[in-house]
Symmetry: D2
Subunit: 324 residues, 4 copies
């Protein structure tokens, strides 16, 4: 029994995501006006934003670029020692890019790429959000008052990447960062979809196949409401403002989360979560593996009809081979 | 920075709770009929039950006794090695009771008491629920089909104890089991209320003051729906059946959880959770401390009026000094 | 101003619907087990059912037949005098079938057909539901306790018919029964869809085009929850039991109602309403007319993607010309 | 049977309410900022507002006054002829005040008082809201886009008055305006509370006892969401802004409506409705009569604890005899 392989507990959370946008002002307006996020800083071609229940300075960086896509994903470790341990592990893989001094909102960070090319970083030092007295809530566990505009999201939840080799990327996250596989999709014996987490969430990251093996794409990032009805409220606001709803509010089979998908004006897909789905407390969790043929109508959506083709094929940046 | 005190990650979850009931058949009926839990075993004076999304054989043991109250709380560790580490730590405190062979649903367990006297146990070996084909769901992450009776709860969430010395018990959980203090209530400098967790939940256990310093009491155990409206549905069912609702559906300030409180027929208070409240991902979380004078109308309930006196004073077993 | 045409207030409500089923036992089980309706009588090849907040003996009659479809729709008038007035009006149209003695749950009724052939009846005398003491609720406006099985519907809401000439049928309802046109769909100047009501609901009846001009079909009947989340709960139950969900929970544009569509085992489409949509109080309401080209993605669903073809083409009885 | 007394159908709806406020700017801000109503006109000491799904120019008039209270309630009739009929009936009671030329948003109106003194008016001519193109919704049955601030209410629902002789006022509404008694509270044989309607709503007006027989008071006015969760969202916003919540979101027994009560800054109580409660379609409805002793904990609230004393005793204007 003492041979039991204990899990690595070194990565704590998805702390921030940087997205690229060819229409940065409209992208920022989307998150600020509709999702009620707060712009906490602007610098160069970038704006930094946070949701009202997030404790840190920012969870989203929007950077102007020619094409939509992922800038990078930032993971906070459980301790400074944990950061050192993970950096050592990554260095051995040859995927390390090296240390940066930091960015607005956090200190020095170690950058690396996934086998598929997406940029990530690990860090420990973080800047906490400083709340003006005018926005301080009497609800002491809430870092700032609930905004009165749009339908306010509460926190960043997860990211989802497309990959030319999703099994390889999943294995990288498992081996080097301590992620555990929570659910997966197999197609003829290959693991083509992975939902991975370091926490009680069933995923902070998912990795799906890019149908033409184009590397480096973002499928979506997701913010969290935790209240199912809020998805209907924001859907109503989106529809009034001609924001395209790709998948209306619905319950995923995989994750059981109450979800919806829209596109921000820069072209990136954004998911919104209306509840917590199911949470995982079993420390010896055995991955739930779906056969791809059972996914449409069950795994993608538990209560609806199969997801549209665009959901399975489109990521950012959009490539010419992508004909949806 | 390398002096940073890394947290202990050895306890994974609250795995089961045993409650005593002077009316065991009615207590079992309450959980089975209204909350749609399944009786998975009966033995001696005890019945064992589980909720439909729980992976283990049981999460609740109802044992006949002269008075209502807590039998024991069972915690599963993260690994067999983690179990050994925690047992060593507890032995040093002198609170250890020793190993038992196990019970229906789990293997050998190490028992100990809190300073206030409540019995607990730690274990690793667990029996998973075996689902009959007739109850197997096409939703692969759901261990058995959603029941069609009552309003089905999904999983055990937490317990709340009353204590003659709540600060001492909280410190015991922190020092020996690796719990972290998430929120607290101070009264004239003393920590009289504690919400503690080992996971992203803001608590698996809370400890409140017993107003007359009577030791060993249970305040409540809590099952989870994750969907706010379900509290209204079950409240409607309870009212039709004369189940006393002490606090109707409401949003806690502390924890932000959407909650309600009722009494099962044996006399124990049961809470039900309608959402996930807020989840904690910051690995360096600083406890949120309330002053007791700010709790009524803000900390107990964020949207309502202060909780009734009974909520602050009554636990099980009920004592004669308790005059509410 | 005194030339203003005052509306007719003679028809009060859709009181019951009879559906045909080739699998009557399974059809009854669908309404009894999942929607928690009560079988209040059985006679010959028919079963009679009611929802728990309905005041009358029954609102649904399920009759065995070779094919699924509409038996008849029963409308209760506002008074015995109103019944006489409407019967006189219908007699003049030549569509009257004459009086019947009544049925289980109501007294004498006057039967007639729509131009498209669907059978209807008008009546005044009604039998109220007699509640056993064991099922009497302390909620005095609730005719019987909320059931504990399935996800209980509260009352019949409306019916929707397909017609070979929908404009003609709508005009018949307006001219002879006092219905008012609330919303409509026009295609090249023709009114192809109508939502009509005699109450503050935006419809008790809707009439849609049958794409092959096959007369006499039922599109669906609808029961009401009034609580949006209940649609998700019943969808979960349906999915566990392989009941086909044609349209998952969604907000209609036309009517604004929160809706979903499933098929009962006999083959008839059943809609469920999760809220009240919008209610009409303006006594001088001007019909809201949609152009057919604006309906998909806006009028059918306000927050989702256009409804499936089957929704636009399939009714009962199913005909051979129907190739969906 | 032809002796059956047919109901009067002459009053269509509660069309607008005027409230007095000693803090008119703050009162207007309450409705505009939090409930997202639109100020459609200002004139003299008054502001006029509407909710986004209301078809008329305004449903609320806020008028500066020394004390909070009811200005008047405006009822729209079903036709110009119906207006004449009701005016004739009222003239015979001696409670008529005479015709006024109209107000912003409607034409000539006939004013009268209840026996208890509250001012009311009847009218037919109404001004419809003219929507700027920028605010026009693609949802054609919605008179203007859903606002993006606060938590937007959809329409005026009802008013509730306190009376020195509630039975007398109820009888006046029944006899002269055609209201039907839907639910009532009796205390030792006297009808002390009445819920009355002319529509399928269970009430557009309720009349409760003023405990000291002070005449002319307003208990509350109510706006409608139709979505239960919206009450939690607005409660969160209210709590962040120190708006006093007298009764948190809760399900009434009488009416079954999902409700909450707050005070606008001018001192008037405002109710908000989160669903439609139950609707009445039975044309021969027998009033549901509660004994006052059964109301606390059942009639006031079906799922909670009895309403606070303030709810039973406080109205506007506040009088010195009122010691809550």
């Amino acid at each position: 029994m003492n041979n039991y392989q204990e899990p690595i507990f070194d990565v704590a959370q998805l702390a921030h995501v940087e997205i690229y946008s060819p229409k940065p002002e409209e992208t920022v307006e989307f998150f600020e006006r509709f999702l009620a996020m707060e712009v906490t800083a602007r610098s160069g071609q970038s704006a930094y934003l946070r949701a009202y229940e997030e404790p840190y300075h920012n969870s989203l960086k929007v950077t102007e670029a020619k094409e939509a896509g992922l800038g990078h994903a930032g993971w906070r470790t459980l301790s400074p020692q944990a950061l050192q341990r993970r950096v050592e592990a990554i260095k051995e893989t040859g995927m390390g890019r090296g240390w940066i001094e930091g960015d607005i909102g956090h200190g020095e960070a170690y950058q690396f790429t996934l086998p598929d090319g997406q940029l990530m970083e690990l860090f420990w030092d973080v800047e906490y959000y400083q709340c003006d007295d005018a926005y301080r809530s009497k609800l002491l566990n809430r870092p700032s008052k609930r905004p009165e505009r749009g339908v306010p999201v509460r926190r960043l939840d997860h990211i989802n990447l497309m990959s030319s080799n999703p099994q390889k990327d999943a294995q990288f996250m498992i081996d080097n960062l301590g992620f555990r596989l929570r659910e997966g999709i197999e197609d003829e014996g290959n693991l083509i979809g992975s939902w991975l987490s370091v926490s009680n969430l069933m995923h902070e990251i998912a990795i799906m196949p890019e149908p033409n093996q184009v590397p480096g794409k973002l499928h979506h990032l997701c913010y969290w409401y935790g209240i199912p009805q809020n998805l209907y409220d924001i859907a109503d606001v989106f529809k009034e403002n001609d924001i395209f709803i790709e998948v209306p509010p619905n319950k995923h089979g995989i994750s059981q989360a109450f979800c919806m998908y829209v596109y921000e004006p820069g072209g990136n897909r954004v998911e919104l979560f209306g509840d917590a789905g199911y949470l995982i407390f079993d420390p010896d969790w055995k991955p739930v593996i779906w056969d791809m043929k059972d996914v449409p109508g069950y795994g993608d959506t538990w209560i609806g009809t199969a997801f549209p083709d665009s959901w399975w094929t489109q990521g950012t940046p959009v490539t010419k081979t992508q004909n949806v």
